[in-house]
Assembly symmetry: C2
Homo-oligomer: 259 residues x 2
DNA sequence: CTTGGTATG
DNA sequence: CATAACAAG
């Protein structure tokens, strides 16, 4: 079973640029997309999600902003949208979908960016704490739980091209990095890091400014966090740095499980 | 002597699309441009107006909106910007430049569009009356006066592709057409129409919607209006329908005088 | 349908 | 630097 997490930076632009080719070639069982930036009715009328997939799109109230989508080759059950229910005023921004695929649970997450305004950094930090508590009960399940998405935080110095220069930037602040460590202490497994080991610098996002992408000046901010039940089933995790870069400023993260 | 009037629909986009080639090939002595949609400091730093020309850009207060520019191969004197002076509250939209080239006077005009909102149609109509009075004194001069620009009005059924279907559209309303007739009654010469004669349907603007341009469903809304002293010197007037269409939704109008 | 501004990332 | 909404034409 293959699961892909990908911040597509606008599904409509991604469609124009040929995301369908990636749906075909990567052939995942479950795709969790972030930053779709569209209402369902805004998708092109002559376009469809991959044939036969179940689709759930959870948009932000604000048009053209944020929004997550989970699609699944096999039928899925939508357990919850929004981290505290659909009418949670704290999730009118389309940031969480919880879906159930057989016994496995997936939590698709797009954590707020704090890099623009102080209010947004404060919002991000409140959101981080709520979300950490929200996912915590899932950790204990004996069945696999897959949390993934764009968390807008690079954890260690291995997860960012220039740790010194970015030490005061939102997304690499000491308390944000500590929060990520706390998640791991809770018991979540950052399976990409566990898979490749320490010291490997592989990024999942590059700024559009300058030549960041060409120079591989990136950040790893897109993650798979697994509970122990799911971790046991990991076959491999990779970041498809080579591909998808003409589609989005983020690369797809691919998780293969032995089911 | 050659004078060109052209609504460029954003000089910055026009530069990207290669307006310089037209500056070179048409080689006019005076260019009067409308809808430049830029402040002087917003023009690309690695770009210049044609070598040796005097330039005056009169922008709107609102960024990226309206604005006219007159450039002249020979030195010119800027007589006035705005139909009632620079600080006229009714001309903060960059719509008029009066320039003097030797004994000849040029009045570069971008008349408001009324096609979006009723308030703008009311603004347009007030502006039309003020402008008609503003240019009137120039009519009597024994020296040549060249009024030109985008007047956002098609005069007769020869000046629009579908007169019946547009009879209730701003730009072809009966009282707008009457206002244009009044200008001619005042003594201004619509030298393009006089040159080609009645019954010839040649347009200067095509909507970007549908296939208006490909189907030649246009309007003639860009004019040269000359006083009798200037009219005597007309060698030819033409609308460069074939060219310039990849630059703007308007075609350049070319006036050749025997000087 | 296109320009350009703005918000957001 | 890119996506998308918007205002304006």
């Amino acid at each position: 079973m293959r699961i892909v997490s990908w911040n597509v930076n606008g599904i409509r632009a991604a469609i124009r640029k040929g995301i369908d080719g990636y749906f075909d070639s990567l052939d995942a069982d479950i795709w969790m997309l972030q930053e779709v930036r569209a209402l369902p009715e805004q998708l092109p009328k002559d376009w469809n999600w991959p044939e036969g997939y179940s689709v759930h799109l959870h948009p932000a109230e604000k048009k053209g902003y944020s929004g997550v989508t989970t699609i699944s080759k096999d039928p899925m059950e939508i357990v919850q949208v929004g981290k505290n229910g659909e009418h949670d005023p704290n999730d009118s921004e389309g940031r969480v979908i919880v879906s159930k695929h057989g016994e496995m649970i997936c939590i698709n997450t797009y954590l707020p960016s704090g890099s623009n305004k102080v209010e947004r950094q404060e919002f991000k930090e409140a959101w981080m704490e709520e979300w950490r508590q929200f996912i915590h009960p899932y950790l204990q399940l004996d069945t696999p739980v897959i949390v993934c998405g764009d968390l807008n935080i690079a954890h260690t110095e291995d997860d960012i091209w220039n740790p010194k220069g970015n030490a005061r930037q939102s997304g690499f602040l000491p308390h944000e990095r500590q929060w990520f460590s706390d998640l791991l202490d809770d018991g979540w497994h950052d399976v990409f890091r566990e898979h490749v080991g320490e010291g490997v610098k592989t990024y999942s996002w590059w700024s559009n400014r300058g030549q960041a992408r060409a120079k591989d000046r990136g950040w790893r901010i897109d993650y798979f966090l697994l509970n122990p039940a799911a971790k046991k089933a990991v076959k491999s995790v990779s970041i498809k740095r080579e591909g998808g870069l003409e589609i989005s400023d983020h690369a797809p993260v691919i998780l293969d499980l032995e089911y």
